[in-house]
């Protein structure tokens, strides 16, 4: 196929695409793949696949145990990946815990808080994580289930109350909808909505949380992969993101926690390699991040994530963001032209990233997605794990297009044509 690749943000998308073998395949009877589902999972460049393979072919061993040469090399590679990710996110290496994914990272905090709340046999510094009846956990109505259900569960286990900021008609967190009080112990929110694309006013939310002494937990799943993020400068206490959404492998994610907090926080998953000393009567635990990495961890995946960070850094996250901004503009401009299309989320580029969700009057999102799929266009349909947000807008499902550094303007422009075809097919045009 002769795809014109309109340069955006000075990015050579054509040569980037050469790094992603999957993008050259066809789907559904020979249609070139148009992958607009990077918000669900991104594709991985050869550099990431090669790094994983090279690690497994030359250095593979269980990390942080054993004294043989391979164990040393594997541990060095694993920790080097942590250091790279630390530089990439403006954190210190010991502030980053490898987890399975962001979901596990958020659960780690929620369960550590649950453990703290039991108040038996724990060090006194864990008290700051304890919650109980009368305390409040605050989230927002636009959260992904991964940053909602763990807090619902923490409330259920401890008797704390869940409260939330509502969402405005144009898809922003409504800062006037909730007044934080001293009862609030946690404020957890998404940096960028996975449905609406809107970017949260992090500074203001952190200020409000700090004013009442609450901890902040940032779901950075849709921000770290798509824009420059400096976690230290943002001032959040915790943040979580997943490797597979940032050109890296699945099965690896990162939890960021400020040093003094991770130092004070009791473990979630316990077992091997997270200990300091074990006796039959009881155990003491290693300093972070090891305290939170029980068992033999994912290793080639961590190394692969390090390679993904190298890949993104070489492009520059400012460039990645600018590129996606152009794509978002094209998506909004072309979809707006299609009759019956309603954008769910900000219709401008202000404080907005590249997730564009919409509904089509008279055609269910599933059916739109099927027509797009028939044309080789892969989008997400459904509630995108943000069911309460969809209910807030009075809809069951949306179509979501999302991008990454390899997405072209021409691909995004095909979306509107596909939606027109869907309207025609279902007889609403």
């Amino acid at each position: 196929m002769t795809t014109l690749q309109t340069p955006t943000a000075g990015l050579d998308v054509a040569s980037i695409r050469d790094d992603f073998p999957i993008l050259s395949r066809t789907v559904r009877e020979g249609r070139p793949l148009v992958y607009l589902d990077s918000g669900a999972t991104s594709q991985r460049p050869r550099q990431v696949l090669d790094a994983e393979r090279a690690f497994l072919e030359t250095h593979n061993a269980a990390v942080h145990r054993g004294a043989h040469q391979l164990a040393e090399e594997a541990t060095d590679d694993y920790e080097a990946a942590r250091s790279k990710i630390a530089v990439f996110t403006g954190a210190e290496p010991e502030e980053l815990v490898f987890t399975k994914n962001a979901t596990e990272g958020i659960n780690l905090v929620a369960y550590a808080m649950g453990n703290s709340s039991i108040r038996t046999g724990l060090a006194p510094e864990s008290e700051r994580f304890a919650v109980g009846p009368g305390d409040e956990i605050v989230v927002t109505e636009l959260e992904h289930h991964a940053n909602l259900v763990p807090w619902q569960e923490l409330c259920r286990r401890t008797g704390a109350t869940l409260r939330w900021y509502s969402v405005t008609e144009d898809g922003r967190i409504d800062l006037d909808s909730l007044e934080l009080t001293e009862r609030v112990k946690v404020v957890a929110f998404a940096h960028q909505s996975n449905v609406l694309g809107s970017i949260a006013p992090v500074e203001e939310l952190v200020r409000r949380a700090q004013a009442v002494g609450a901890l902040t937990v940032l779901d950075a799943c849709q921000s770290v992969p798509h824009m420059p993020v400096n976690l230290t400068e943002l001032g959040v206490d915790f943040a979580a993101f997943s490797g597979h959404k940032m050109l890296g492998p699945s099965g690896v994610g990162v939890l960021f926690g400020r040093t003094e907090l991770l130092d004070a926080m009791p473990p979630f998953i316990t077992g091997g390699s997270m200990i300091e000393m074990v006796r039959m009567e009881g155990s003491t635990y290693a300093p972070p991040p090891q305290r939170f990495e029980a068992g033999v961890p994912m290793t080639s995946q961590a190394v692969g994530l390090g390679a993904a960070v190298d890949y993104l850094s070489a492009i520059g996250m400012d460039t990645v963001f600018a590129h996606e901004r152009e794509l978002t503009k094209v998506a909004l401009d072309t979809l707006r032209e299609v009759e019956g299309v309603r954008i769910i989320g900000p219709d401008s580029l202000e404080q907005r990233g590249g997730a564009v969700s919409f509904v089509v009057d008279g055609v269910h999102a599933h059916d739109v997605g099927q027509v797009l799929d028939d044309r080789g266009i892969a989008v997400r349909v459904g509630h995108h794990c943000a069911w309460p947000l969809h209910r807030r807008f009075g809809i069951a499902a949306t179509v979501r297009a999302s991008f990454h550094v390899y997405t072209t303007v021409e691909e995004v422009a095909q979306l509107a044509d596909g939606v027109r075809a869907a309207r025609e097919f279902f007889g609403v045009a």
Binding site: H364, H366, Q370, D374, V381, G382, H383, A396, F425, F426
Partner: protein, 150 residues
């Protein structure tokens, strides 16, 4: 083209003009089924005949929110099972389910499932099988509830 194979005219007709839609009284049991991956929902009521020795499906009424496949298949369900014995209705259900879950391997028996064979194409799309079965599973569940209560 594959799209037409999946969205056969019969499906589109049922989608545009669903049969038996709306919730009606009287009924013996009501179920609410959800497709958790897409948020589609159906509320379905069943009224069985009065002879417990030979139970029949007197009415199936429903309200649903969903894609063309789930709406049309619930519409087809009402055509196929209303007026039949429960035993016969379940035979139809099993036949429809077998076809829907066959990934295109079972073409479906028109003698048994009538318009239901239009959904054979859907079975090739694993992500849509749940859509095709949403109303049917709600019906199965509703009948089971009537039996439990009896």
């Amino acid at each position: 083209m594959k799209l037409e194979q999946m969205y056969q005219e019969i499906i589109l007709d049922h989608y545009r003009q669903p049969h038996g839609a709306g919730l009606r009284e009287p009924y013996d049991a009501e179920t609410h089924h959800i497709n958790p991956t897409c948020g589609d929902e159906v509320t379905l009521r069943v009224k069985l005949g009065d002879d417990p020795a030979h139970p029949t499906v007197q009415d199936v009424s429903y309200e649903s929110l969903g894609c063309s496949i789930s709406q049309a298949s619930t519409s087809v369900l009402t055509d196929l099972v209303v007026g039949k014995s429960v035993e016969e209705a379940f035979r139809i259900l099993e036949s429809f389910q077998e076809m829907a879950q066959s990934r295109g391997k079972v073409p479906g028996d028109e003698e048994i499932i009538g318009d239901g064979i239009a959904f054979a194409g859907v079975s090739k799309y694993p992500a849509r099988v749940k859509c095709a079965l949403l109303g049917w599973m709600a019906f199965k569940d509703a009948v089971a509830r009537v039996k439990e209560e009896a």
